[in-house]
Amino acid sequence: MAEEIQYKGYKVADVAKGKADWYMFTDLCKGCGLCMVKCPKKCLKWSKEVGLYQTPCVEPDPELCIGCGTCAMVCPDSAIKVVKK
């Protein structure tokens, strides 16, 4: 049935001291910034890349990010994914 959907975006590899990869799906991010506030490490910054509405996406400072996934859970549009390795 539903064909495979291709997702575009970027990856911030090896966050949490290499224990996780952090992904951004740019066609889903609307640049609301809600994730930034909820990040316990306050390590999300605006990105150079733009999302669905030509507004900036976010990206974590890989040094500070602990891969907790709060940003992914909070994002209303499921634009973030954190994959534990």
């Binding site: 609307k30 640049g31 509405y53 030509q54 507004t55």
Partner: protein, 186 residues
């Protein structure tokens, strides 16, 4: 019976309606007949935002026209949406630094500008829409620069007064926008 019909279309965040409002305000203050319909759908954001503007010397009849004289499309979806408003007499402007597609509807002329890129690189992402206003001003050629500046003062005066450098930035953007079309020579 001079009448200019303008379609301006873009994504929710691109400030399409703000640009249109300044343009029509300028026209009104300059004593023109004006008719402006913002497009609105059920989505508060999202979806393509379209502004239909008419500037004329005499009383305007039809509120919604079939085909535009000038069409400005600021995203891929906007290009698609604007096809229906395009005729052989339309001039179509699009931002090639944002769009990945090109307008294909039959028309008089297609003009590619790189407002987004230039705004980002040379001024600030925030004045992208004012740059587009400059493009519009030049492309339509029915209003004077002074009219637009007055209207900008009405819309943004307070902000300008708080941060006077903003005024300069916006004027700059306006001029750069105008220059973009000048170069291609409408």
């Amino acid at each position: 019976m001079a009448r200019t019909k303008i379609v301006l279309a873009g994504e929710g965040g691109q400030g399409v309606q703000s640009v249109a409002k300044i343009l029509v305000e300028a026209g009104y203050e300059a004593g023109k007949e004006i008719l402006y319909i913002p497009n609105f759908g059920v989505e508060q954001r999202g979806g393509v935002s379209v502004a239909f503007c008419q500037i004329a010397d005499e009383k305007i009849g039809e509120p919604r026209f079939a085909k535009g004289d000038i069409i400005i499309a600021l995203s891929d979806r906007a290009i698609a949406r604007c096809e229906t408003y395009t005729s052989e007499n339309s001039v179509v402007v699009y931002d090639s630094s944002v769009c990945t597609t090109k307008p294909t509807a039959k028309c008089k002329e297609v003009i590619a500008v790189e407002a987004n890129k230039i705004a980002n690189e040379q001024l600030s992402a925030r004045v992208f829409n004012i740059m587009i206003l400059g493009v519009l001003l030049k492309a339509t050629n029915v209003l004077k620069l002074e009219d637009i500046k007055n209207a900008m003062e009405i819309a943004l005066g307070k902000k300008f007064d708080a941060k006077p450098e903003l005024r300069e930035l916006n004027y700059k953007a306006l001029e750069m926008g105008m220059a973009m079309v000048e170069k291609v020579g409408v």
